[in-house]
């Protein structure tokens, strides 16, 4: 059993799972915003990055990790509300490339402002748990206390989001506003407020993601930390289907594992080629994603 748990295959699956939950979280935030406002939030990663900076660079370095994390989440939620109220609100009902362009511009502003304030030098974040892998019979298992914390946190976030949507009145209103804004408004749902709430929720999830990503010893926190993660998260969301939260989560975790195997058995540079290949093929075979039903379009 010990030999099995430390084998190459299991190590890859565990390592892939740790990365995969991150992609899944990014994909989840994208899906939340896409479902409610039909906007693909290209500034998602940058907003999350800024929230992480607020939590971990504005406060003194000695601040308790959990306090910083909480501040980052609050900052993320506030930034989400602010973005929706100021920028995004002006884009509803415009041609579909306008929000794309605007969010890319917003991404540029956020990354430049963060670099102007905190410079492009990477800063390492404190970790609440050890990043050294557990040992079994003298060999490392590809799982450290910190990696386990990442996975658990991600799962908790996902479950909380699912519970909110499935079992609360607010969740029901969020779903109604996304499904049919006109009818929901007639039935007394405050649709504009729901849209803001959707953005707040998504950027809160984003803030958690950015803190987890930046805690990685090798990357640390830089203004562009989230660029690569965002690209993988988008690929996960697109493969799973931008309309399907479940699809985003499943695709994120699966892609994480697949990439780990590719990196281990081929080489780490090949990961991105495989990712692009998977994206192109999956979009051609099922343009709307693996987990969404087909929709017909009319003139």
């Amino acid at each position: 059993m010990d030999a099995f748990l430390t084998s190459r295959i299991v190590s890859d699956i565990l390592g892939g799972l740790t990365n995969g939950v991150i992609y899944a979280l990014v994909a989840l935030s994208l899906v939340l915003i896409w479902r409610s406002t039909r906007i693909l939030n290209f500034a998602q990663g940058a907003m999350a990055m800024l929230a992480a900076y607020v939590g971990f660079a504005v406060l003194a370095p000695s601040t308790n990790y959990w306090v910083s994390m909480a501040v980052a989440i609050v900052a993320g939620v506030a930034l989400g509300a602010l973005t929706e109220r100021t920028v995004v609100r002006l884009l509803y009902g415009k041609p579909e490339i306008n929000p794309v362009v605007a969010m890319v511009g917003f991404l540029l502003v956020l990354e430049s402002v963060a670099a102007a304030i905190w410079s492009t030098t990477s800063r390492s974040l404190p970790t609440p748990f050890s990043i050294i892998d557990w040992q079994l019979a003298g060999r490392p298992v590809a799982m450290s206390p910190f990696a386990l914390y990442e996975v658990v946190t991600a799962v908790v976030v996902m479950v909380v989001v699912a519970l909110v949507f499935q079992y609360t009145s607010v969740g029901l209103q969020l779903r109604a506003a996304a499904l049919n804004p006109e009818v929901s408004r007639l039935l007394g749902v405050r649709v504009t407020r729901m849209l803001t709430l959707g953005w707040m929720l998504a950027s809160g999830v984003g803030a958690v993601t950015a803190v987890l990503v930046a805690s990685n010893y090798f990357t640390g926190l830089t203004p562009t930390t989230m660029d690569g993660v965002f690209a993988f998260g988008f690929i996960a969301a697109a493969v799973g289907g931008l309309d399907s939260p479940v699809g985003a989560l499943v695709a994120g975790v699966l892609l994480g594992v697949v990439f780990q195997f590719v990196g281990d058995f081929i080489n780490s540079n090949a990961i991105i080629l495989v990712a692009l290949g998977l994206l192109i093929v999956s979009l051609m075979v099922r343009p709307s994603g693996l987990f969404t039903r087909r929709t017909e379009r009319r003139v």
Partner: protein, 391 residues
């Protein structure tokens, strides 16, 4: 009509006389007089509404020639720095024309045109390192072909996709481009990139024409600027015809209503892929020219930031319009000088964080403001002012 013709004749004679008597050498005097005469004829033709309406190709040819001629005359007068900026900007104009066509005619958007530029840039560098002394035109054609091929690959999903999906896919390509170059590190030189084996030098006839290569203006920079301006002119002429062609018009229907376009017999997949291929080929041409101008290529130039810059320029200039691409190219050429001026006059430390990020902050803010409040950019605003004129 008679008054117009006589006015043209008078202006023509006056222009020839004015130019011919102001220049010392006899041969240059004749050449300049001819250019001036042609210029006067061209302007006269363009001011006629009938010519503009009935001979669009003539009009487009004349406009292109005038723009290129003005830029060429400028390159011989400016300094080396201004000329180098102009050549980078002219190459950027080509890239912007490509993206403008993609968006303006088919309604798609690409966040990966910086990477497509990189494809062209590295094609030129790799080829030049393996085949010394290839003709310039061959190298550039290869860059265009390589760009078109990669564009085709990424255009394939475009047959079934819409808007944001494509944008995301091209974004993934742009972010991944550096890693992809590393996969082929033995060819692309890895992180340090490639140097061209020999710099592109001015040909003899140009050296003869401008023997006085001064400290502030070298013949080579005149040659490189002229080269990119002419390339941009050719790209401009081709694109303006394409916009107006049957193909261009069917593309606009695809943009405005794809279901209707399909019903009148336009093949959506073909139209979308074609737009993507053309846009990528234009980007690759611009990238190839950059390699020639810079005499080297580095992977960091073609990162995600460049793709965002390209998008900003095309939107601020005016997306989907040809003047917009030219405006964007000029902004690109001289934005660094402008930002340097701002830094110097606001007392910011030039090496400080803020100064180094000013570019991104300004372009990002302008991008958001433009798309929200003036989606047609500078050229759209100018056009609206022109149509409101009272004279």
């Amino acid at each position: 009509m008679a008054t117009r013709i006589s006015a043209i004749a008078v202006a023509l004679v006056a222009a020839v006389a004015a130019v011919a008597f102001g220049v010392p050498t006899a041969r240059l005097r004749i050449v300049l007089a001819l250019i001036a005469a042609l210029g006067v004829v061209a302007v006269a033709l363009l001011t006629s509404a009938r010519v503009r309406a009935e001979h669009p190709v003539v009009t487009r040819t004349l406009v292109t020639v005038i723009v290129v001629a003005v830029a060429l005359i400028g390159t011989a007068r400016f300094s080396t720095n201004v000329d180098t900026d102009l050549s980078l900007g002219a190459a950027m104009t080509i890239v912007l024309l490509g993206l403008s066509f993609l968006t303006g005619s088919s309604g798609q958007i690409s966040l990966g045109n910086g990477a497509f530029m990189g494809v062209g840039a590295f094609t030129v560098a790799i080829w030049a390192n393996h085949h010394h002394a290839s003709p310039l035109i061959l190298v550039l054609v290869l860059a265009v072909v390589a760009g078109a091929a990669v564009g085709f690959l990424f255009g394939l999903p475009a047959t079934r996709l819409r808007g944001p999906y494509l944008a995301g896919m091209t974004l993934a390509f742009a972010v991944a481009f550096g890693a992809i170059l590393n996969v082929f590190g033995s060819w692309t030189g890895g992180d340090s990139g490639l140097q061209l084996p020999s710099a592109e030098n001015a040909p003899h006839w140009l050296v003869h024409l401008y023997p006085a290569s001064t400290a502030s203006l070298s013949v080579n920079s005149v040659w490189l600027a002229g080269l990119t301006v002419v390339a941009a002119g050719i790209a401009l002429f081709f694109m303006s015809n394409l916009f107006a062609s049957r193909f261009g018009r069917s593309m606009r229907l695809v943009r405005d209503n794809d279901v209707a376009a399909e019903l009148v017999g336009i093949s959506l997949p073909r139209a979308r892929v074609a737009a993507f291929v053309i846009s990528a080929a234009y980007a690759a041409l611009g990238g190839g020219l950059w390699t020639i101008v810079n005499n080297a290529v580095t992977p960091s130039t073609y990162g995600f930031a460049l793709s965002i810059t390209i998008l900003s320029l095309v939107v601020i200039g005016g997306i989907g319009t040809i003047p917009g691409a030219i405006i964007g190219g000029l902004i690109y050429a001289y934005s660094n000088s402008a930002i340097g001026w701002i830094t110097a006059h606001t007392g910011l430390s030039p090496q400080g964080n803020v100064a180094s990020q000013l570019n991104g902050i300004i372009f990002g803010t302008l991008l958001v403001l433009t798309i929200v409040f003036a989606p047609l950019g500078i050229s759209g605003a100018l056009r609206r002012l022109w149509s409101r004129r009272t004279w």
